[in-house]
């Protein structure tokens, strides 16, 4: 007959409570971090917000000499570079995911999938340095002159491709971002497509549908929520990406009608100017930019996660 030592049992109970409290504290810390980020950004941004008011987000001016700051140019740059990135990366990512789920010979499926995932693990500074030394000169020498000559003369979209080919600028930043988020979007879309039950696809094939028809009429409608979620997750990345953009954007606080001109984004403005900012209002304006970025990306990522969760609840699981 085993006898339980009451002191031993009491000690066990104390350990249990301590361990449980420790895990709970660690879990609560995650909430605390997010809350802390929001509060500290608000506090840091307060001088600028109270000084400029709402005009902070509507003015293009950014002048450290006269201490006047407006966030319109960085907001414009952030949105436009991300839109360019998504226009290039979403169709390509969709193609790669389609290739991996439907076309790829089983032998190549894993190596290509792993290659795509590894590309997603390469840090953004590598894309930045590559964009600066390889992609920008290439675009400057070949792509941009062509765009200026052929597209720039058109009446409607021509204005977007005017001016000298700088190499660096909004368009190049968008292109580097596209290459950066491409593996990410491709991997997410592949996981989303994999959640479609094979039975559904086989029913489509059984009715005589072609691969593309099964894709477009069965797989895409079935995983619509996941696709939008995956794309928005990629968008969240593109909006907040710092280093890859900072190298090739040109850092000019102005809004140009041409995509070939240099510009700035929220994150690259912070990365470039923060350590050199003198004066409270300057620093505070940069933190206010950070607050804006936080609000924008938080909304986009939260919406994306909510969508991916809806898909998960319906059956499949998406990493």
């Amino acid at each position: 007959m085993a006898i339980i030592d009451p002191r031993h049992a009491a000690k066990q109970l104390i350990y249990e409570r301590v361990f449980r409290a420790a895990t709970l504290c660690a879990a609560l810390l995650v909430l605390l971090i997010l809350g802390g980020v929001a509060v500290s950004l608000l506090r840091g941004a307060w001088p600028a917000v109270s000084h400029f008011g709402f005009s902070f987000v509507t003015r293009e001016i950014w002048n450290p000499v006269t201490d006047e700051y407006g966030a319109l140019a960085p907001i414009y740059g952030t949105v436009v570079t991300s839109v360019i990135a998504m226009l290039l990366a979403v169709p390509a990512g969709f193609g790669i995911a389609l290739f991996l789920t439907e076309l790829c010979p089983p032998l190549l499926k894993r190596p290509i999938g792993v290659a795509v995932e590894l590309l997603a693990a390469v840090p953004s500074i590598i894309f930045g340095i590559w964009g600066l030394f390889v992609l920008a000169p290439m675009l400057q020498r070949h792509t941009q002159p062509w765009l200026i000559e052929h597209v720039g003369s058109l009446s409607f979209v021509g204005g977007l491709f005017k001016g000298p080919p700088f190499g660096i600028g909004i368009l190049t930043a968008g292109a580097v971002l596209a290459i950066m988020v491409l593996p990410f979007i491709a991997a997410t879309l592949r996981d989303v497509f994999d959640t479609v039950p094979p039975m559904l696809k086989e029913s489509g094939y059984g009715l005589g549908a072609t691969t593309w028809e099964v894709m477009w009429n069965v797989v895409v409608p079935h995983s619509r929520v996941g696709i939008v979620g995956g794309i928005m997750l990629g968008l969240g990345r593109a909006l907040g990406e710092t280093m890859a953009v900072t190298f090739v954007i040109g850092n000019a606080h102005r809004i140009s009608s041409s995509l070939l001109a240099p510009g700035t984004t929220i994150s690259s403005a912070i990365a470039n100017e923060f350590t050199e900012a003198v004066g409270d209002l300057y620093t505070s304006s940069l933190i206010a930019l950070g607050l804006l970025l936080f609000l924008i990306t938080f909304t986009v990522i939260a919406a994306a996660q909510a969508m991916l969760r809806r898909l998960e609840r319906r059956g499949g699981s998406v990493a």
Binding site: Q12, L13, E16, F19, R20, A22, T23, A26, A27, L28, L29, V30, L31, I33, L34, G36, V37, L41, A92, G93, F94, G95, I96, L98, F99, L100, L103, A115, V116, L118, A121, V122, P123, S124, I125, G128, I129, F133, L182, T210, T211, W212, E213, M215, L233, R237, G240, E241, T242, M243, S267, I270, F274, T275, L293, F294, T297, F298, A302, Q305
Partner: protein, 284 residues
């Protein structure tokens, strides 16, 4: 008949397009790796690992930057991963289905893809401003915050993979959950949790933006955690944007070192995971 031809044509068109997209993606990967290898290897020499970052125009290496990166990454993991593992334990064990866990899980996934520059600003506000100067410890804290979501996520996933039978047997022997956790669940999920740690190291060792205004940079050898410390990403950033040829070469060499490190870490994480799956698949 005509309709069928059209359908077939459309099918082939889109399949070819998807093939082109895949090829483009792979070519981009190859191009980046090729440039990295050729320009990085051109600048690579033993000086990289034995000398400090030089002033422009003279010879030097990246020793202080490599040391700083290693120290801050290690500190970041040492601070961040226990928190991540404990929080993951809470989600997988104690608060499995509570509302709090649902919220924490959601917030964690948001943090996982939040822009790292925001974390840098946060640490600047709460540490650098308070202390009055940039420091390695601030950089390590920023990296720790980035490591938490990765380790939390993998820990929870891996603990959930452990068969419930093992947990139940331990409970039937009268063990409290903490004892079950330490003696049964952690050992069973060990390789999975290690994978999470490797992924977290891979994630934070290439981060630049959060270090820009926390650890800053230091041209000299410094072991003082309370002072600015050199680190590879920021050195690459500064040297690549400089007009000096020898600085640019050092930047490429640094870029190669970082990428190789991260690829090795990610690949070993994958190998560990694959080994785990085969050993489980063969009916352990």
């Amino acid at each position: 008949m005509k309709r069928r031809g059209l359908r077939k044509f459309k099918n082939i068109l889109f399949l070819v397009l998807s093939l082109v997209a895949t090829m483009t993606g792979l070519v981009c990967l190859a191009a980046i790796l090729w440039t990295l290898l050729s320009r990085g290897l051109a600048g690579m020499s033993w000086h990289m690992f034995t000398q400090m970052t030089p002033p422009p125009g003279s010879q030097g290496g990246l020793l202080n930057a490599i040391y700083g990166s290693a120290v801050m990454t290690l500190l970041g993991i040492l601070i961040g991963s226990p928190i991540g593992v404990l929080a993951g334990t809470y989600l997988a064990e104690y608060g499995r289905k509570s509302h709090l866990s649902t919220i924490i899980r959601f917030i964690n996934d948001v943090l996982l893809s939040a822009p790292s520059i925001i974390i840098g600003l946060f640490v600047y506000e709460i540490v650098v401003v308070r202390m009055g100067h940039f420091s390695a410890i601030a950089g390590a804290l920023a990296l720790a915050i980035l490591a938490i979501p990765v380790t939390l996520r993998t820990t929870e996933d891996m603990l959930n993979l452990v068969p419930t039978g093992m947990k139940d047997s331990s409970a039937a022997l009268g063990a409290y959950p903490w004892r079950t956790m330490l003696s049964v669940l952690y050992p069973a999920a060990r390789s999975g949790i290690v994978t999470g740690l490797l992924l977290a190291i891979a994630r934070i060792s290439g981060e630049t933006a959060p270090l820009l205004f926390t650890a800053l940079n230091n041209q000299f050898w410094s072991q003082n955690l309370n002072a600015p410390m050199a680190n590879l990403p920021v050195v690459i950033f500064q040297f690549a944007l400089s007009p000096y040829k020898d600085w640019q070469n050092l930047a490429w060499a640094g870029a190669l070192i970082i990428t190789v490190t991260i690829l090795v870490l990610s690949i070993s994480a994958r190998v560990i995971l694959a080994m785990m799956q085969t050993s489980r698949g063969s009916g352990r």
